[in-house]
């Protein structure tokens, strides 16, 4: 009977003994660079048993003392040799780490502990040095062009969509119908929305000048508040505060398809002579543009949503593509300072094109990705 028990025990232990689990080696723990002092990165060389089908991954453990006790932080699958401990709550406190190899049959093998290591905060993200460098160059070039613009008139190419703004307002005036202005779905923090608001300011002045009704249904509450003030100020600046109607700028809904449905309804019922679609749009772009096209309105769109541009180009009379939306304010006002900014942008674009060509040639001739790596943001 005793022999039988020994035999059964041997059978149960057989798979474990056969695996001969090896612990991971070369364990290393370092303070994660460029962070706020809440992270330590642990790396290790995978266990020799990692190739076995019964191998089950690694448990990463941490302790405040080398001898323990260790608490488990997380599990990493096989073939992994990296773990980022983001649960550090105290800076400059020493920690020790160990990694335990696990198998499906329940055994484990812990590595040697590594440490002490403490997390500390960084005061400059060295991985963003290239971004800082690029930003300084860009700002310097833009400011130089702005300074230059004060001295003389700079040429800007014709943008058909912006030339059509005045024509569109005039058409609505002649037809005695309102102008519909949409500001997109993004919040005020998006540059496209700010650019759309800038154009709204110009359109509001024009509509006040021609005494044309302007309808601005909004999607975002903060954008609504700003848009309302802009239209009001637009009327005031033209000496026509009486033209501002409280219900001309109104909040519709914060629901994407609800907004599309509401605007389609407004277009079908009120038949605006002109529709402006400025800002950032998503799937509702086509619903809006096609509904407007069906009413026969002249449509001017402007967006930096690359995925929605084809729909606007297809369904609208004029489309401002990407940066043309940002250029609108300078183009419409012709203010030298704003135009100088545009020229600065163009110069920086030339620099980028030169860098792309240089990087491509460098990679092809020297088989090196030095230039490519410079543009990688850490």
């Amino acid at each position: 009977m005793g022999k039988m028990k020994m035999f059964l025990l041997a059978c149960l232990l057989m798979p474990v003994l056969a695996l001969g689990l090896e612990p991971p080696t070369d364990l290393n723990a370092v303070d994660t660079p460029n962070d706020d002092g809440t992270s330590i990165t642990v790396t290790w060389k995978t266990s020799a048993s990692d190739v076995d089908t019964r191998f089950n991954g690694y448990n990463v453990e941490r302790s405040e003392k080398a001898e323990g006790p260790y608490i488990m932080l997380g599990w990493m699958p096989r073939n992994s040799g990296h773990y980022q401990d983001n649960s550090i709550t105290a800076m400059n406190l020493n920690y020790y780490y160990r990694v335990v190899a696990l198998s499906d049959v329940g055994d484990s093998a812990a590595s040697q502990a590594t440490g002490p290591v403490a997390a500390s905060q960084s005061w400059f993200n060295t991985g963003k040095f290239n971004t800082l460098f690029g930003t300084i160059i860009f700002i310097a070039i833009t400011l130089w062009f702005i300074q230059r613009a004060k001295n003389g008139r700079l040429f800007i190419r014709r943008i058909a969509g912006l030339d059509a703004v005045e024509e569109a307002v005039g058409r609505a005036t002649e037809m005695g119908r309102p102008i519909l202005y949409c500001l997109g779905l993004d919040p005020i923090s998006t540059v496209a929305t700010v650019a759309a608001l800038n154009i709204l300011g110009r359109v509001a002045k024009k509509t006040a000048e021609y005494d044309t009704p302007l309808v601005v249904p909004t999607y975002d509450p903060i954008v609504h508040t700003v848009a309302r003030e802009m239209v009001k100020e637009g009327c005031n600046s033209m000496g026509r505060p009486d033209l501002f109607k409280e219900d001309s700028v109104y909040f519709v809904t914060n629901d994407q398809m609800g907004y599309a449905a509401a605007l389609s309804g407004i277009m079908a019922r009120e038949k605006p002579a002109t529709n402006f679609f400025m800002g950032y749009y998503y799937a509702e772009a086509l619903v809006l543009a096609e509904s407007g096209a069906a009413t026969g309105a002249i449509q001017i769109a402007g967006t930096d949503a690359v995925t929605q541009l084809p729909f606007f180009i297809t369904s609208c009379d004029y489309t401002l593509m990407g940066e043309e939306l940002y250029a609108a304010s300078a183009y419409l006002s012709k203010e030298p300072l704003l135009v100088g900014g545009l020229k600065g942008q163009d110069a920086c674009k030339l620099l980028i094109v030169a860098a792309v060509i240089l990087g491509t040639l460098w990679a092809l001739i020297f088989k090196s990705d030095v230039i490519y790596n410079f543009f990688n943001v850490g």
Binding site: D36, H224, V226, Y250, D304
Partner: protein, 206 residues
């Protein structure tokens, strides 16, 4: 005063956020998160103003019996019903509010989304009319891309899927990246002009 105070706030906060982007330290993160919380607080107040405008707009339409005021009546009744259902009955899975959401609002949203298919067909018809050389090129490219994505394309010619992929990955990607460069630079330039107070149109009549 009315113009200088907002300009000063924008300048200080704009410079702060630019500098904060490069500083990962704890105080910098705390300051950034505090700003985000302020943003949320601002949103709450803005929502009250927005709702006031919404109710006022539709109420006035109903009271003045403006054209098609019935839609406004339906809208206000539906909004009131949803709000009361949520406040009184709660928003648990079995509540009346959730039933309204699942069996009325959600199908309406889905239907609106489904209409996109029809709009796409009409837009495609308009885009693919081969009136000019560019439109013809677009039509041919679109035809190849579509054929390359379905088994029939490979049956007609074995190289069709690869040609389709090349069109998407090379000429299409190149133009998309060109636009993206412009967008990136334009966004930075616009931000810079606003921070420095060169662009003041957002102030309204300024």
């Amino acid at each position: 005063m009315k113009r200088n105070v907002p300009l000063a706030i924008v300048f200080v906060l704009g410079v702060f956020f630019v500098v904060q982007f490069f500083i990962p330290s704890h105080p910098s993160q705390v300051a950034y998160n505090t700003m985000l919380e302020w943003d949320m607080a601002l949103l709450v107040f803005a929502t009250v103003i927005a709702l006031d405008s919404l109710i006022r707009h539709h109420t006035q339409k109903i009271m003045r019996r403006q054209g098609q005021w019935g839609y406004s009546a339906v809208y206000l009744s539906a909004a009131l019903l949803m709000a009361l259902a949520g406040f009184i009955g709660g928003t648990t899975d079995t509540s009346f509010y959730m039933k309204l959401f699942q069996y009325a609002m959600s199908p309406m949203q889905t239907s609106m989304f489904a209409i996109l298919a029809f709009y796409m067909a009409s837009a495609a018809y308009r885009a693919f009319r081969a009136r000019t050389a560019e439109a013809t090129l677009l039509l041919i490219s679109a035809f190849i891309v579509m054929l390359g994505l379905i088994p029939l394309g490979a049956t007609i010619w074995g190289g069709m899927p690869r040609l389709s992929e090349w069109l998407m990955q090379v000429p299409n990607m190149a133009s998309k990246r060109g636009i993206t460069f412009g967008i990136g630079l334009g966004a930075v330039a616009t931000s810079l002009k606003i921070i420095l107070g060169i662009e003041r149109n957002w102030l309204g009549g300024a």
